[in-house]
Symmetry: C2
Subunit: 85 residues, 2 copies
């Protein structure tokens, strides 16, 4: 595997995990007043578009990445609605 | 331009704007207690990796996208440190 590929896979993995700390923090503290609902609505919509794009491009590896981010985004939307007031 | 390309550019634009609502909300409300600092540290680190990757792949279009997300991530890190306590 080349250096560029390693860099790409590392960045791809980080991309997948970006929302995870916010999900964990919100689950722990049960507070999301300061968290932007619009951000996660955009993120979720965006992941759905990327998944369509990946399906059309038959790029299964990235479908998994985007599906994971979609699940994290939907989780944050649920947590924001539950703890956000 | 094909349907797939339009889908890709739309998703790319949404990706670029994802953090914008959180930046605006935090600037307005001057409160970021519930926002995860770790999320934006990962996001910023991630964008730096993607920019290196894009430079190596000579993909200028995506460099701009990732640089924009990096600026938004760094802005949120600054705002979280300023209003997050």
């Amino acid at each position: 595997m080349s250096g560029v590929e390693i860099l790409g896979y590392t960045a791809g993995t980080l991309t997948t995990l970006t929302f995870l700390p916010q999900v964990i923090k919100t689950l722990k503290e049960k507070s999301a007043k300061d968290v932007s609902l619009a951000m996660f609505l955009i993120a979720a919509t965006n992941q759905i578009l990327w998944i369509f794009y990946d399906v059309l491009q038959r790029d299964n590896a990235i479908i998994f990445t985007n599906a994971t981010i979609l699940v994290l985004s939907l989780t944050m939307i649920f947590l924001k609605l539950k703890y956000g007031r």
